[in-house]
Each structure stands twice: as C-alpha cells, then as structure tokens.
C-alpha cells in the first residue's frame, strides 16, 4: 500500500485539492475504515489520497437541527450519530442503523459520507437514510452546488451520480412528529455484532394523531445492487389506519417490498434465504 496524501483542513483547501487532481487518480479519505482494506488489496500505482479526516469546516462536520429537519455533515461519525439525542428520539431508524454498524472502534472513525460513497448494498446508515428520504447536498470544485435525493444519488452497484469534481458536503432529513412514528432498522447477520447485513430493512412510518399513515419510507439492504426505496410498499400504506392493518394487509405489504428484492447468492447467504428473510421481516414491523 503506497500513496501520496494531500491534507486539507478547510473546505477551500479541499475544493482546491479536488480541482488540482482532476487529471490524476485520487480517492478521498475520511475515516479510512473501508478505504484502507480496499487499498491494501488493489495495489494501485500513482494514487493520491485527499485526506479530509482533519477538515474543520462545520458544514461538513456538524449535526444541526434546522426548522424543517436535520442536517448532518458528511464527516459526522457513526458514533456522533449514535450519541445524538435528537436523532435517537426523532429518527430511531438512523440511530439503530448507526449503532448496529461494526463496533465502537470503527464507529468512532467511520463517517456518514464514507458509508454513502462506499455504495455498498449493505451500508447500514445509507439504508436508514434512504428510508428517511434524505437529500444529499453536493458541492463541486468550482463552487457549484446541487441537491439530490439519496435514493436517486445511488444508481447502481458501486455507482453514484457523484462526478469526479464533486463531494458530498452534508445530508438533510425532513422533519417529522416523533410521537407518531414506527421507525426502526432490522439487520440480519449470523451473530449480534461485527456484521455486514445479510439482509436489512429500514422503515420510518409517520402517522397522524388518529393513527392514519401519512408518510412512509421503507428501504431494503443487501438484496439488490442498490438499496431500493420500496415505493409501492410505502404507497400501499398511505391513508391506512395503523391499528386496522390485517394479517392480509401485512402480507400484501411484504409482497410489495419483495418487488424490490433481486438478491444474489454469495458466501454469506443464498438468494433464497435473503428473500425469505426479507419477506418474513417485512411482516413483523407493525407488531
């Protein structure tokens, strides 16, 4: 493993470094927990790492409550997210996903932006943010900015819409009323800790005071090249009363979630198992 490093401590330095390296082979490193293992295996020649681990810009690092939601910097670590009480209360799906990610030592350095840009179908924080309908705020090295729904940002296996001159600055999650939510992150693995999800299910369902479902987000991890947002399953729930959901409704909901599952078989589990578990899990979230 060998590479050159450009240290950046301000957003200005960061954008300049990106601009300066448009014609060379570079990677951006923040927590390095995925990157180091990848670099050890790849043996890439002539690689530059733009190191943002010491970037101090608050737009990239802070978790901020805003009027219409929450803004999380790309450099927020999984531990920052686990320890944030606002997230724990309002977005249990995100809190659970972050706390089920690897272990303390990894959570202390692994960043939100890294989890998103690693574009793994089993990325825990990414899956929860897709269920939360999060938006990515992206800047480019010329000062341009754009926003894109996270579920649109990821377009395929290991593929995003991020261009070589761009970086995610932060993400935002819309506000909700935490008194009337069903929200959680189910992660299936063969042990309780240190797992990469074999299957995961993120859900964040908003009701009004009468129990009518007004908004729903469901995402499924490790069952497709991307982490799909299960639109038709969510639509199916809208307008229904949470207390009146029948067994048949739950099964139909699960069947609709399954429309998004096209898993593969690998060393960790078979296609059959992944489908079976996703179907089973989907029915359990209302009980």
């Amino acid at each position: 493993m060998d590479f050159e490093v450009i240290n950046t401590t301000t957003s200005d330095e960061l954008l300049k470094a990106i601009a300066a390296n448009q014609n060379s082979n570079f990677r951006i490193g923040a927590g390095f927990t995925d990157l180091i293992n990848q670099l050890k295996k790849q043996n890439t020649e002539e690689l530059t790492i733009i190191n943002i681990a010491q970037l101090k810009d608050e737009a990239y690092t802070q978790i901020v409550e805003e009027a219409d939601g929450l803004r999380i910097g790309t450099l927020a670590t999984a531990s920052d997210i686990v320890d944030n009480n606002f997230i724990r209360e309002n977005y249990p799906v995100l809190h659970q996903a972050a706390s089920k990610l690897a272990c303390t030592q990894i959570r202390n350095v692994a960043t939100l932006g890294g989890n998103i840009c690693n574009v793994s179908p089993s990325g825990d924080m990414t899956a929860s943010l897709i269920a939360l309908k999060a938006t990515c705020h992206i800047v480019d090295c010329n000062g341009g900015e754009r926003a894109e729904l996270l579920s649109d940002f990821i377009i395929g296996l290991k593929k995003t819409t991020l261009k070589k001159n761009e970086i995610i600055k932060n993400i935002t999650i819309p506000m909700n009323d935490h008194h009337n939510i069903i929200s959680g992150y189910e992660k299936v693995g063969s042990r309780k800790s240190m797992e990469i999800a074999i299957v995961s299910l993120g859900y964040h369902i908003q009701m009004n005071n009468d129990g009518t479902i007004t908004d729903a987000g469901v995402s499924c991890g490790a069952v497709a090249p991307t982490i799909p947002f299960a639109t038709s399953a969510c639509d199916f729930l809208l307008g229904k009363d949470i207390q009146d959901l029948t067994e048949a409704d739950k099964e139909e909901f699960a069947n609709k979630v399954m429309e998004y599952a096209s898993p593969i078989s690998d060393v960790r589990a078979s296609e059959w198992y992944r489908k079976e578990v996703l179907f089973n899990l989907s029915q359990t979230i209302f009980s």
Partner: protein
C-alpha cells in the same frame, strides 16, 4: 482426600497476568533480533496442478532480497514431514492443495519479501482436483499423494489412515434391540483462529551448527525431534524457546512447513529470519478440525438400555497426513464407552483429497463423535416415548465400570453431572413447555467422556520437573510442561505454595527453553495440570526428604512430620526458616544444593493392537443442558443459558477452571452455530474474521458451572484434566435444543439460520400436505 488445603481450591489470579495485561509479555510477533530478516512464502495459485517451471530470478534481483529458496536449492537437503512422512516441505513437480509452499524469500523488510513473491514466476498445468473423499476412493481416481501407502496398507491408493475397533456381540445386541436409529451426520471444517497468528524466528549458527528457534509450538520436545528429522540434524543441536503463546487449542501440535522453511532461509542467508502469518494466511494455512461424514446406527431395548453402536466414518484427510488422522483414538472411546455400550463396531477411514489437511483441535474428534451419539440418543428416546433425561441416566457410566474397550473408571461423576444439569436447568419442565410464537424456546442435553489423566499415544506421556530452592528461600520450578494461556503455570505455583509454604512472590516457573527444561510430551489431551502437577508433587516429595533430614540435624529432633507454612518448617515447638535449612545444606554439611529432579510417568497403558486398554490416568465426564431461542423470522439461534457440570476430580483453581469452561463453550457454540470454513474446489472463500464468525462478547450467553468433585487418586489432589471437555458436548446439546424448539432434527453443523429457515419451510409444506 480429606486434607485441609490452604491454597488449592481457592481462586488464584494468573501468575504472569500483570505482564500480559500491561503489554509487557513478549509474543513471537514482538521479537526483533539484530540483523533479522523477514520471510515470506509463495503458495500455489491452484490447489491441484503440475508445476512446469519456477523462475525466481526477478525476485532475487529485487533490492533488499537476501535469498530465495525452492525445492531445487542446494540448501534444500531435507526429509518429508508430517505424521505419515508424506509431506514435502517445499513442493516441486506437483501441488496437491491450496496451502502448498513452492518458494520462500528472506528480505530486509516484510514489504520487500512480499513484493519479491509477486516477482516469482510459476508456470502451472492446472488439473481438476478431487475434493470429495468418496470420489477419491473410486478406482478411476488418480493417486493424490505420491508418498501415500494406502494401496499396500489399506487396499486403496487414496486411503491415508484406517482404524477398526470392536467389542461385544453386535448381532446378538441388534436382535435384542426394540429401537434402532440409523442416521448420517456431516461435520464441517472449522479452525482454531488463535488471536496471535502463527510465527517463528530462526537463528542458525554457522560455527557449531546449532539452531535456535523462537517458536509457539505446544509440544517443544516432539517438535525438536520433528525439526531435526526434517532438516537432517541432531535434535540436541536444536534449542526451542517458546515466547508467550497467543493461543494454541491444538493448532501447534504438528510442525508445519513454514517452520523448517524459516530455518532454511536462516541457513542460506546466514542471518536470523522471522516469519509471521497474516490473518489470511492463518486461515488458509493453519490446521482445521476434521471434516467428516459419520454413519451411526444405535439401538436400545424396550427399557431404553443401550444395546449397540455401529459406526462408519469417512474423514477428509486433505492432501497430507497430520496428527489429525489419529483422532479416531479419541472418537472410538466415545463410541465404545460414552454411556454403557454392550457392543460396538467402529470403522474410520481418512481419505486423501486435494483439500487442505486437518490437524488436532481441542476435543480431538470428540465433538464430532459426541454430536452424532447424543443426537441419536434423543431420537431413540423419542421413538421409545422415554424422557431424554431418563434414557441418559439409566445408561450413564458409573464408578468401577470397565468398559468394553478396557477403560477403567475408578471414579466417575457421569451421573451426578447429568443430574445436576437436569435439576439446575429444570430440564423436564423446560423440555415440555410450549415453545412460543416468533421466538421458539428449546432445551437440549449432551454428555461427554474424555481422557482426564493424559493419554498414552506416544512412548512416554510423562513430564520432568527440576526444583531449586536457593539460599534466600526462593523456589524455581523448572517444568517440562508448557503454558499456552490455559493457566497450568499458575496451578504449579499453587501446588508449590500449598506443599512448601513458600509465598507466591518467591516462586518462579521456568518452562520455555528446551536447553534448560526436562522432557515433557507437550500440551494436549487436557494433561498439563495432571501430569505436570503430579511431576511437581513427586519433586516436592524428594525436596522435602532433603529438607526434613537437614532440619532434623539442625534442630536435633527426630521426626518426619514437618509442617511447611509461611516460609518455615515447624514440628511442635521446633521451628526453622526454610531458607536457613537450604543455606545450612549448602554452606554446611553435606555441602549440597537444595535441588532435586523428578520424572513422572502416568500409570496409563499403551493400548493393544485392538485398541483396548486403560489409556488414561483417569477420565473426565461432563453434561451440559443448553437453552436456546430460535427466531423463526430470521432462523437465527440464540443460546440463552448454558448449564455445565463436569467431573473435574477436584477443583484446583476455581477462577482458572471457570475460564476454561467459558472459553471452551464459546468455541463449542461457534462450532454449533456460526463457524465454518467455506471451501469450494479446494479454495477457501472466507479467510478473514469477517467471513469466519467467531462469537463476539454480545453473543456469549451466561454460563452456569457446577463442578463435580470425585477425588480420583491418580490426579494431583484428586483432580482430572479439564481443558478440552467444555466444548465437546456443546454442539450436541445445542442441536438437541433446537430440535426441541422446532420439532426438526439437524444432522449437520453449523446449524445456520439458512438451514433453520429451510427446515421450517419444509415443515410448513408437510403440515399443509397433511391438512390437505
């Protein structure tokens, strides 16, 4: 044994615990010798191939590379290694499994050595390998190991080892049987996964041809002999120094090719060389538990009394033959003698394949055997309509029993252990309870029998001790035995404290250098506290004779009845400090040092050609009752509680013993539920801690341990070996518990979530059919 003891039986912290907890303990990875080089080994790119050519010229030209060796090198004047001497250290001509070593490099840094490996060009003619032992036994299969003697010895060229055992009248017992259960069991390949990867540092002296090895072997004296044979050296010219060993569990019983390879690099370069495995290498290269297929038929009469066991086992030997091929020694004991078995027939065949070779692993074949026996017992009980606990109790081993194989249970805690776990787990109630909806609860039983007083499988099973009491009253225990983390060192110090009344601060245990310590066969078979403990007691007896005699002379009193306590020897009103006695012995007449040496050989016997005989000094018995909860949504099995009761003879160090229980259980639970080396066509698909699932802290259930003390006179203070037992019946008890929860029986390990969900699905389909 009624003697009141002051130290033995009370928890004692680990002797060198402070060194280990402070990072000061020196492991193989921490050794740096002046001028030391780093070695790396090139392994084959294909598990089965002919090697057409090897070109090392580019590697040799790389700056920082000091030497490269292959099997064609002048320095490569060696013998084959392994239990059957069928394993060339470096391969040429053909490669037979994914581990095969082709070339090795010594360089100034590890990075350079690894880079050099990439520059070695090897041309292969890739062949289709044989990865299924059944295929390997067919006539048309090619001979896998050219050094194998299967044709001459067993009538099949790919047979590596074969065992046949029987006792009793099988046909008569079959005729008596009301219930006969025949099942096939499949056991996976699992590995030790020691936290420290394998390592060795070698220094060869060109002046006198002496070799010093810093090695984490568990069996230094057998290893010294093995290295000597491999490299055509005199054993006494080889000095083995054991740094602190970061986990053993049986993995360091065989000598492996990387060890003589490291010596060859040191010889050729003229400098010390160190080889450290990466974690991936550790998974690929270190030994495994034997994968096998077991066909087991068992019977019982209408009262549930066992009648016979008939078993045929096909073991995947892999490409070479390690100590692992001898696990049937242990397995046949369980089939012949775990519970009362009037008739038993046992056949086991280890078959060469192009898979990696197995080795020895804590339990030595016994977890596999016990899994099959205990599952069959539950099935027989079910068919007979008998309680699972009752069928075990009426067949349990008993004190005074001499089994069909000739094992003599002079003490036996089998029944008390079973009764204890049945009682403590409220087994009958838990067994009959409704199982729940999404989360289904179940409970299962498993028992085991294992050697408790060593096992005579080598010409000597003994251990030597040298004791030295210096002029200042400090005691040095130089023992042949080894510490691999299990705590035997602490037990030895406790024995000396108990017997000689010397404080812990004044006791040193020296056990890491073959140039210094007397012979011992090594750490295996749960033997160290038993054999080394007895050896130490023998040495202490000799030392006391010397001290007593001198004290008598000094105090002018006639007695042999000295009490040793608080650094003093006391008889009635007579009292003298122990260091004073030692000094007077040294500086006065008879001008002797207070030093003794003693060799202990256990009373066990070498088994005869039919494998009959009392092979161990005593025997350990244990039962486990394990509660599980199965999540029918995911198929995951969670272990909720473990009740374990074990006949340990006598508890020596409670905290150390409990640690052995919990640690063994963790490995046993992993074997039952999560651990498996996934091999496809001879290649390992999960060579990492991520892919190979050890239990984590959050997976570990509470362990309730109830020791049974039977005071066996063969063991120190009545104790028995205990280290391997806790993982032996664990998979069996868990499998029975899952079966109790779901009403489905599992015949293969690990019981993965996927297997559980598939079984539930099949069960559902069947129920549907019945309803239709």
């Amino acid at each position: 044994m009624e003697k009141e003891l002051k130290v033995i039986g009370k928890s004692h912290r680990k002797l060198d615990g402070k060194e280990r907890v402070s990072g000061k303990a020196v492991y193989g990875h921490d050794i740096e010798l002046p001028n030391m080089l780093h070695g790396s080994i090139l392994r084959t790119a294909h598990p089965c191939a002919e090697i057409i050519s090897i070109d090392t010229s580019k590697a040799e030209a790389l700056e920082g590379v000091e030497c490269v060796i292959t099997a064609d090198d002048d320095v490569y004047d060696v013998n084959n290694i392994s239990y059957k001497r069928d394993h060339p250290i470096l391969k040429k001509g053909t490669v037979n499994c994914n581990r095969d070593e082709i070339a090795a490099v010594a360089a100034r840094t590890k990075e350079i050595a690894d880079k050099a490996l990439q520059l070695i060009e090897v041309e292969y003619n890739v062949k289709k390998g044989i990865y299924d032992p059944v295929e390997a036994l067919k006539n048309e299969a090619p001979q896998i190991n050219e050094f194998g003697k299967g044709k001459e010895q067993f009538g099949n060229k790919n047979m590596a080892e074969s065992f046949h055992y029987e006792h009793g009248n099988l046909e008569e017992q079959k005729a008596k049987s009301k219930v006969i259960v025949k099942r096939t069991y499949e056991l996976p390949r699992v590995t030790h996964a020691c936290m420290a990867t394998s390592n060795i540092t070698a220094e060869f002296s060109p002046f006198d041809g002496r070799l010093t090895l810093w090695s984490s072997t568990q069996v230094p004296f057998l290893y010294q002999r093995d290295i000597a044979h491999a490299l055509k050296m005199e054993p006494s010219k080889i000095r083995i120094i054991q740094p602190i060993i970061g986990g053993g569990f049986g993995s360091k019983l065989d000598m492996h090719p990387f060890e003589p390879i490291c010596v060859l690099l040191a010889k050729k370069s003229g400098k010390p060389v160190q080889i450290l495995f990466s974690r991936e290498e550790e998974f690929v290269l270190s030994p495994t538990r034997q994968p096998m297929v077991i066909d087991l038929t068992t019977g019982c009469d209408e009262n549930g009394k066992f009648t016979f066991r008939e078993v045929e086992i096909i073991k995947d030997n892999g490409a070479y033959t390690s100590w692992g091929a001898t696990t049937p020694f242990v397995m046949m004991q369980s089939y012949s003698s775990l519970y009362q078995v009037p008739a038993c027939k046992f056949d086991s065949h280890a078959v060469y394949t192009n898979n990696p070779f197995a080795g020895s692993f804590r339990g030595y074949g016994n977890p596999q055997a016990t899994f099959s026996i205990e599952t069959n017992i539950d099935l027989m009980a079910e068919e007979l309509g008998m309680d699972q606990s009752e069928i075990r109790l009426i067949n349990a081993n008993y004190k005074g029993e001499v089994t069909g194989q000739g094992l003599h249970f002079k003490t036996c805690g089998a029944i008390p252990a079973l009764e204890k776990v049945i009682d403590e787990s409220d087994f009958e109630k838990a067994n009959a309870e409704p199982k729940g909806d999404r989360y289904k609860k179940g409970i299962g039983l498993g028992s085991m029998l294992h050697v408790g007083g060593g096992a005579k499988i080598y010409r000597s099973d003994g251990c030597g001790t040298v004791l030295k009491l210096d002029d200042y009253g400090y005691l040095t225990i130089i023992t042949g035995s080894n510490e691999i983390g299990q705590g035997s060192e602490t037990v030895l110090a406790m024995i000396a404290m108990e017997e000689l009344g010397i404080a812990e601060e004044k006791i040193k245990v020296i056990n890491t250098d073959t140039d210094v310590k007397p012979w011992d066969v090594g750490v295996h078979a749960s033997r160290t506290s038993f054999v080394a403990g007895n050896s130490l007691l023998g040495a202490i007896k000799l030392m006391k004779e010397k001290l007593n005699k001198k004290a008598v002379a000094l105090l002018d009193v006639v007695t042999d009845d000295w009490e040793y306590a608080d650094g003093k020897m006391t008889f009635n009103e007579f009292e003298i400090k122990i260091d004073k006695v030692a000094r007077e012995m040294h500086f006065g007449t008879p001008h002797e040092l207070c030093t003794v040496n003693y060799f202990y050989e256990p009373p066990s016997k070498f088994q005869d050609k039919d494998f009959k005989g009392d092979v161990s000094g005593n025997y350990a018995f244990a039962s486990q009752a394990i509660e599980v909860e199965v999540d029918t949504v995911t198929g995951n099995v969670e272990v909720l509680n473990v009740h374990v009761s074990q006949d340990v003879g006598r508890v020596l160090n409670p905290i150390g013993l409990q640690g052995q229980m919990e640690g063994g259980l963790a490995t046993g639970i992993g074997y039952a539920l999560t651990e498996e080396m996934i091999y496809e066509n001879g290649e390992l698909k999960n060579p990492s801690f991520h892919g190979y699932k050890l239990l984590t802290a959050t997976d570990m259930p509470p362990v309730h341990f109830y020791p049974i003390e039977t005071y066996d006179e063969a063991g120190p203070y009545g104790s028995k070996g205990a280290g391997e037992a806790p993982l032996i019946p664990t998979a069996a008890a868990i499998a029975n518990a899952v079966s109790n929860a779901l009403g489905v029986t599992f015949y293969s390990l690990p019981i993965t979530a996927e297997k559980v969900l598939r079984a539930l699905k099949e069960q559902k389909e069947k129920n549907k059919e019945v309803l239709v």
